[in-house]
Structures are given as C-alpha cells and as structure tokens.
C-alpha cells in the first residue's frame, strides 16, 4: 500500500482508489445487493413499503420452480423450459463462436503483422460502431423471407420456398453469435500473439502434424484467452435482450425476456429480481464448474 502511494502520489492514488471504488461498489455491488434484497420481498405499492406486509419470503423463487399457488402441474414448466433453453442456447452460441473465432484469432495472432493484419482487425471492429439494435434489425432483413440469403438460395435453385429463419430461431442464434464475436476473438488473439513462433516451428521440425501442434502447443497456451472469451460470450448471450426481442421467433422466449416482462409489463419488480438473481447465480456456477473442468484459474481470465 505504501508502494502504491509512492508510485502514484497521494492525489492520483486516492483518485484511482475512488474511481475503482465508485465503479465496483456503486455500480456493481450495491445494485446487485438491492436486487437480491428485492427478490425476497413482497410486491407492494409504494405506500405499503416498510409497513407490516413488507416481510422477507421466498415466494418469488418458489414461483419460478412451482408456478402460482394451486398450480396443478406441480412445476412451472413454461418458465423452467425457457430458462433451460436459454442456458443451452447460450452454451451453443459460445461453442459456435469458439469454433468460428479460434482460426481467425490464430491467423491474426501468428501472422507477421503489418498492413494486412491491421486492415483485417479494422474490418472486424468497424461493424461494431453500429448500434447493437440496428445490427439485429440488419440480421432480420438478411434472414427475412425476401432477404439476401433466401433470395440467393432460391436463385441457385437450392430451395423452392423461402426458409423462415426467424421462426426456426436460426436468425437469433446467428445474431447472438455475431454480436459477441469480438469478445471471443480478442482475448484469444492477445494470447496467441504472444506465443513464440519458434515453438510452432520447433514442433513442425520434430514432425508434429497440424492438429498435434494445436492440441499440444497452441491451445494449451491460449487457454486463458479461450476461457476468458468463452466466459464473456456465455454470460452475455445468456443475458442478451435486444437480439432475442428482435430476432427471436414468435414462439421462442429468452429468459431475459421473462425478466423484462416482470419488470416492465408485469410491474412486479420483486418477481423479476428473483428471476434475475437465479439467472446470474446459475451462470456463475456454470462458468466456475467449466473452469474447474478445464483447469483454468480465475487469475488467468484476467490476463
């Protein structure tokens, strides 16, 4: 701590601490705590808040699992299914992005740099200057009945009638996958860039195949980047709202849309909070479990 103030000085040191403190406590910890607090409360009109009815209970959580009291089914099938599908779809999007982005990251990271690489990186970044919602609408157009993809496939006689990509949720998965590509590429790119090219050549010299080089040298080395990218993509796609709203089929619901409905149209903030807390905690548990499985440390993700 002494060294910290010696290197940064009193003013700068306190400034940095305050900024980080403001960021972590005011913008992350406090909202989450109040969300947690909310999730255990009754949904009351403002005058009754703090009154005798304002007690802690777990009814909001019970509702997610068992549905409304008196539900004959026993379980809240609809919401639980949406929850499960959201997690599975987020995992699928993560794997899809990983498979798609690893070759790109490897190519960028191991190319000798220079103009061409820089142009490629720019081409990856520039589309993200456009707002997320606009990009989602663009995907709607591309995947629409008269969109580029359907038109082309019909032109070449691959299909007779346009495929309803929206209803099939293909547009949704593509849109989600596309939305977080950069978050997958850049952590991997950063790590792979620091991989000594001589190691790959040494392995080649010793007769290693292309697959062997990746399995034994590049992927183990890139593991921190891979896990960092996967964590972000999984968390963000499980928590995405705009893409499911715009690209989701009429029958498909994303769990975040349920939360949104509770907060917005339902006006039931406490119920929405419970749903949000469950989603957050489940995602954290999944990420930790996967990290454990692949022997990645939390510290590596920060690299």
């Amino acid at each position: 701590m002494k060294d910290y103030f010696r290197t940064n000085g009193q003013v700068m040191g306190w400034g940095l601490l305050l900024a980080v403190g403001f960021w972590v406590i005011l913008l992350i910890v406090l909202p989450q705590i109040s969300m947690l607090d909310f999730s255990f409360r009754n949904n009351l009109p403002p005058p009754e808040m703090g009154g005798p009815k304002d007690v802690y209970k777990i009814a909001n959580y019970k509702y997610l699992v068992f549905g409304a009291p008196g539900n004959e089914d026993g379980y809240n099938r609809v919401d639980l299914l949406v929850f499960l599908r959201t997690l599975l779809a987020a995992a699928a999007v993560t794997i899809f992005d990983l498979v798609l982005c690893y070759p790109i990251a490897y190519f960028l990271g191991q190319s000798p740099g220079g103009g061409f690489t820089r142009v490629l990186v720019l081409l990856l970044i520039i589309p993200y200057w456009i707002n997320e919602i606009l990009r989602a609408f663009a995907f709607r157009i591309i995947f629409g009945d008269t969109g580029v993809i359907n038109e082309f496939m019909m032109l070449f006689g691959l299909i007779d009638r346009p495929i309803d990509f929206i209803r099939e949720n293909i547009a949704l998965y593509a849109g989600l996958g596309y939305a977080y590509i950069l978050l997958m590429i850049f952590p991997m790119y950063n790590v792979i860039e620091s991989l000594d090219r001589n190691q790959i050549e040494a392995a080649r010299d010793m007769g290693a195949s292309w697959w062997m080089i990746h399995r034994r040298i590049v992927i183990p080395f890139a593991k921190p980047g891979i896990s960092s990218g996967c964590t972000m993509v999984f968390m963000l796609s499980a928590g995405a709202l705009a893409a499911p709203q715009i690209l989701g089929g009429p029958s498909s619901l994303w769990f975040t849309q349920l939360i949104y409905q509770w907060f917005n149209t339902g006006g039931n903030w406490t119920q929405g909070s419970a749903y949000a807390v469950v989603l957050l905690l489940t995602c954290i548990v999944i990420v930790l479990a996967v990290m454990r499985l692949f022997k990645v440390n939390m510290g590596d993700i920060g690299k």
Binding site: D196, N198, E201, A202, A203, D205, M206, G207, A208, R216
Partner: protein, 377 residues
C-alpha cells in the same frame, strides 16, 4: 567419424522478393563434421540454416543432405533437428515431455518415452530434472534440455542457431566444451550459426565466414585467423590493425606497400586469396595487435617498423593494450588507432600518452590483401 551424413549446398541463392539474402553459396560439409557459419547480424547465416532445415526453399540451387536433393521436402521430412536461438522449449510441458516430443508425435507410449527421456537426461547430466517445467531450470540447464530434445529425434544433422548467445560468459565458455564433447560422442554432423568468433574457432572443424549474403572463406579456424582470404575476413575475425596503401613491389611471396599513414611496410601475400595482387594495386595490410613488439632500436630504413605516439593505454589483465597514432595521422583519411597488445608477464607497464614508440613486427605475420570491404563494428 566420416560415417555421418554430409550436407552440400550447391549454387544456392535465397531471395526475399528482390532482396538477395544468400548469394551463390557453395558449401560441402563432411559427415560428422562440426561446421560453423560465422558472420555479423543480418549476413544471411540464419537464412542458410533455415534452408537446410526446410523452413525455406532456395530460389536457385540445391540443398543436399546425405547426397539427396531436399527440394520440396518440409522440415519434418528432413533428417535434421534445429535448435533455435531462444531454444523454443515448450513452457507448458515438463522436461521429459519436451525432450520426447518427437516420440509423442510418432505415437510412442508414455513408458517408452520416459525411458528414453531418462537416458537422454543422463547423457546431458540432468538426471533429476525430469518432472520440472522449463521455467524452473537455469539457462545452462535449458540449453541442455534443448539439445536433448533435438537429439531425441535421432537426426543425422543437428542445426544450432546461436544457442549460446543468451548465456553469460563463463557458462558460454563451459557450454562450448560441452557441445563439442556431445558432438564427438554422438558423431553426427553439427552445423552451428554464430556471430561469436571465439565459439566458431574453438568448436569447429571448419568455419565459413559470411559477409552480407556472401561466403568469403571456408577453412579451419587456424587458416581463417592466420591466412584470411579477403579483407573482410581479416578485419572480422579477431582484432586487426589495418593499413591501406598501394603495392610498390612483389617478390618471393612478400609485398612492399606504400601505406597512406606509416610509410613503406612489408607484408606477406595471403595464401588463400583468390585474386592476386599486382604492382600498383590498392591493397590493405593487416597486423594483429599481439604480433607487435617494441623495437630495440629505431631504424628509419626498416620496412617492418612503425613509429607512433602513444595515445592511451589500458590494462586488461592478461595483457596491456597500447593505442598509438602515427605521425601522419592528420593526412590519413581513415585515421584509426594502432593497437598493440603486450602480454602481461609482470614487466609490462602502462605507457604515458605522448611517448614516442617504435613497433617492430615480422613480415610473415603481416598479411597483404586486395583492398575491399571491411567489417564495421
């Protein structure tokens, strides 16, 4: 010894776009030989090594290994193993995994690999380091692991790209001896790249000295040092005092040169130089600092004496170095100091600046060569 696999480069050119990295290299390396390429940075020596190992294809000419043309064969198809300048050990694999990676590639069992790793670790005298990671080893240990890893593939030719350059002086000198021992024990051909002439001269059977893209001379270390073929070799290998001038007369293998800065001096012709000197040619003559003696008597008629003023002198432990400037320094275009090294036998001392001194040398120890490129420090 000669049972090993030789390497031949025939009229080999390597180009990167318009840039010629290696110009018409012709080298014959005998099987079992310790062969070094010596040259400054950017002279193309590493490029040659990459062409032998298969990471590069020559633009023209051939690379033959054991008499077979290697054109179109990748690094994994050649009987060579390369040790990289930074060693390129795999940081996430244990020492034994590193060493036996070439066996893992071929699908050898774990037990087989560990057994082989133990054998090799014994050979490089690191028996108990099997389960460590490279980051836990010292510089010299890493070095040896890299050698073991390369030898594990049982190559016919081992290629070493300045593997000692990262080590500190004492260890580097120790590793020289060790490398040479390992080479003699395994009996395979070593091709060694270095900018360090000490390494090249101490370890090698033959040395190729490279100037930018061109090989100037291929010979054993002694010939390179004593009988340089070009002015570049003379100035690059070891320390040398250079005197420019014109050939005045040639007789019995000796040359009289009218120098720019120190009058008329006598030298011998280099035995390895391909372009003979003629009277009137521009020439350079080279005298090594250690071949100077202090003359007993100044003799103005002598053509093996140089009279000069001491500029400064320094004590280097085993020797005293005296730096002098000649009378005619002011008129001299390339006015470098003359360096004399006197072995410290207890009686030598530091000389005061300004002292006039007459240096004596043997004509047989001064070499005359056609004027040409010289090494810049």
């Amino acid at each position: 010894m000669s049972a090993g696999v030789g390497v031949d480069l025939q009229d080999m050119w390597i180009k990167f776009g318009d840039y010629v990295a290696v110009r018409d290299a012709n080298v014959n390396i005998a099987g079992g030989e310790f062969f070094s390429f010596l040259g400054g940075s950017g002279c193309g020596k590493t490029t040659i090594l990459r062409a032998v190992s298969g990471f590069l294809e020559p633009a023209e000419g051939k690379v033959l290994i054991g008499g077979q043309d290697m054109a179109g064969k990748g690094p994994n198809e050649r009987p060579t193993a390369l040790i990289f300048q930074n060693l390129a050990l795999f940081p996430l694999m244990k020492v034994w995994e590193n060493i036996t990676f070439s066996m893992e590639v071929r699908g050898a069992s774990k037990a087989e690999r560990q057994k082989r790793a133990d054998e090799l670790l014994d050979m490089i005298a690191l028996p108990d380091q099997r389960d460590k990671y490279p980051s836990e080893l010292s510089g010299g240990q890493k070095q040896r692991v890299a050698i073991a890893r390369a030898l594990c593939a049982q190559p016919d030719v081992l290629l070493l790209d300045e593997p000692l350059s990262a080590l500190y002086l004492k260890l580097r000198q120790h590793m020289r001896t060790e490398l040479r021992e390992i080479q003699q024990r395994v009996g395979i051909t070593f091709i060694y790249i270095t900018h360090d002439q000490g390494e090249a001269l101490t370890m090698s059977d033959s040395v190729a000295v490279m100037r930018t893209a061109v090989i100037d001379q291929i010979a054993d270390g002694r010939s390179i040092y004593d009988d340089p073929a070009t002015s570049f070799v003379a100035s690059f290998v070891g320390e040398n005092n250079m005197f420019g001038g014109k050939v005045k007369s040639i007789a019995d293998g000796q040359v009289i040169i009218e120098t720019n800065r120190t009058g008329t001096l006598r030298a011998r012709l280099s035995g390895t130089c391909k372009t003979p000197l003629k009277v009137g040619d521009k020439a350079m003559m080279f005298i090594r600092p250690e071949t100077f003696k202090i003359a007993d008597q100044k003799d103005d008629a002598s053509d093996t004496q140089i009279t000069a003023h001491v500029r400064h002198s320094e004590f280097e432990g085993q020797s005293y170095n005296v730096f002098l400037e000649s009378y005619r320094l002011l008129e001299d275009a390339d006015g470098k100091e003359i360096k004399m090294a006197l072995t410290n036998r207890g009686e030598a001392r530091l000389y005061e600046p300004g002292t006039e001194m007459t240096l004596q040398y043997e004509a047989a120890q001064a070499v005359a060569l056609p004027a040409g490129a010289v090494a810049t420090e």
